[in-house]
């Protein structure tokens, strides 16, 4: 059987695109929530209030150093099975939501650090100038520091997004039927075309991830703050 036949058999027997679509959806929602949580934690870590800085630092260090698989398994076995917490009445949606929640919580730590590295690209004088015209901490952060920090953080944020995209396969541990689950199924039932199976999923992620890298490189140049 030629490679072409192998691939066409796989694509005929399985909804490969549908499986990857789950990963893309996981990526999208987790990226949105990770960004929001990460921005708040970054704000805490740069705030003048020591207890908030401590809390933000603790979040990053604890979450970043916990394996994502453990968070996923904990969501399903501890939060759902033991504590009966549900995030949706729909059985499949519930697992999907848990996976998004755990991906968001985990990647927020990396988003926070990416934003903080962006904040470091903003000269101290920008904050001093903002304070000297009477802007308080939050308006200074929102109007002056963050817009410049985000532009300086596009590249590290892109890296975080790429890592997130590939980490959506860990959602398998929370019983979400995404691409890696389908891959296991193919290996189980079609192990005679094992090479084609691996290529399908490897290339699938490459196809999703390459544009992310290209777009972030382009965007980081386009929106660079000229000083």
């Amino acid at each position: 059987m030629s490679y072409f036949d192998q691939f066409s058999r796989l694509f005929a027997d399985y909804d490969v695109v549908g499986a990857f679509w789950v990963n893309i959806q996981l990526t999208f929602w987790a990226a949105v929530f990770a960004f929001l949580i990460g921005a708040v934690v970054a704000l805490m870590r740069i705030s003048p209030v020591p207890s908030l800085r401590l809390l933000g630092g603790a979040y990053v260090h604890i979450v970043r150093n916990t394996p994502l698989t453990i968070l996923m398994v904990m969501a399903v076995l501890a939060l759902w099975t033991q504590m009966h917490i549900t995030l949706s009445t729909d059985f499949k949606q519930n697992f999907f939501n848990f996976a998004v929640a755990m991906l968001s919580i985990y990647h927020a730590a990396f988003v926070c650090e990416a934003i903080r590295s962006g904040v470091n690209t903003v000269p101290l004088g920008q904050a001093e100038a903002a304070r000297s015209i009477g802007l308080g901490f939050l308006p200074t952060a929102r109007l002056i520091i963050f817009p410049q920090a985000i532009r300086g953080a596009i590249t590290p944020l892109g890296n975080a997004l790429i890592a997130l995209t590939k980490n959506t396969t860990v959602a398998a541990a929370a019983s979400v039927a995404e691409a890696s689950v389908m891959m296991k199924k193919m290996i189980e039932f079609d192990s005679d075309v094992i090479f084609a199976i691996f290529m399908t999923f490897a290339l699938g992620f490459v196809i999703i991830v390459i544009p992310v890298g290209l777009i972030t490189t382009w965007a980081s140049r386009k929106w660079a703050v000229k000083r």
């Binding site: 004088g125 920008q126 100038a129 009477g134 000229k226």
Partner: protein, 260 residues
């Protein structure tokens, strides 16, 4: 603190200057005693130039007046009111004390016009139209109104610093602090900034200026305060200070900078 002042137009850009009084101000950076028992009163409308060798504490002193630097003891008062330590009250005070920095510090992601309208809109709650009119009047006054839509990085240093002055003036400050405003400028840009400052001085703004520009000190200042090692060593009218310095430190300093 009332901020009643006529709005709009190029006239009456600034309002009545305030009095600044520092008494017994001390500050340490670790073991380093950067400000030693500073007592200094700047009268409303007075222009005071702070002079001194580098490391004498003149920039730090300037920055304590809007609390960009905290002090360890003593008091800083503006029109008899102690400057607040933090929070909303401090932000309010800062909005009435203009500050011009050595490195301009224009908001790099905002246009020139947006730099100037930011404070009036976000701090004073003015409408966009009102803020724009005020900003255009101020940019006209400092001679950069034709650059209003550019980004700061597209302007020369002298233009940027004049925009920075306009940004401060848009808050209708009662005191203006200048922290080495011309030190980062190419020589041919210095005059345009000094001219802008001199015209402000004429309008009766209370100004505290850290500078190495002796010409400006001579012409625009009412008083020169000479600092060395964090202490006020000598203060006098510019004429007296430059022609007849009393302290050895001042003689030594002037000898070094005026002999070229």
């Amino acid at each position: 603190m009332s901020t009643a002042a006529p709005e709009g137009g190029t006239a009456a850009i600034s309002q009545a200057g305030a009095e600044v009084r520092l008494s017994g101000v001390n500050k340490w950076f670790g073991d380093h005693h950067v400000l030693r028992d500073i007592n200094l009163t700047v009268k409303p409308g007075e222009v005071v130039v702070l002079l001194g060798p580098s490391g004498s504490g003149k920039s730090t002193l300037c920055r304590t007046i809007n609390r960009l630097e905290t002090i360890d003891s003593g008091s800083v008062q503006i029109d008899g009111a102690e400057i607040p330590a933090e929070g909303k009250a401090l932000a309010e005070l800062r909005s009435e004390v203009g500050m011009v920095f050595q490195s301009f510090n224009l908001f790099a992601h905002k246009s020139v016009l947006e730099n100037v309208t930011m404070g009036p809109i976000k701090v004073r709650g003015k409408s966009k139209r009102e803020a724009r009119e005020l900003a255009e009047a101020l940019l006209k006054k400092v001679g950069v109104v034709n650059q209003a839509d550019k980004l700061p990085a597209q302007l020369s240093g002298g233009q940027q610093q004049r925009v920075a002055i306009a940004r401060s003036l848009a808050m209708r400050p009662r005191v203006m602090l200048f922290d080495e405003p011309t030190s980062a400028l190419d020589p041919e840009m210095i005059t345009e900034v000094l001219d802008t400052m001199a015209s402000l001085a004429k309008e009766g703004m209370t100004m505290i200026v850290v500078t190495h520009e002796m010409g400006f000190a001579r012409e625009a200042a009412d008083r020169v305060v000479f600092l060395a090692d964090g202490a006020v060593v000598e203060e006098n009218t510019p004429e007296e200070f430059f022609t007849n310095p009393q302290s050895d430190r001042a003689k030594d300093f002037l000898g070094k900078i005026l002999n070229h």
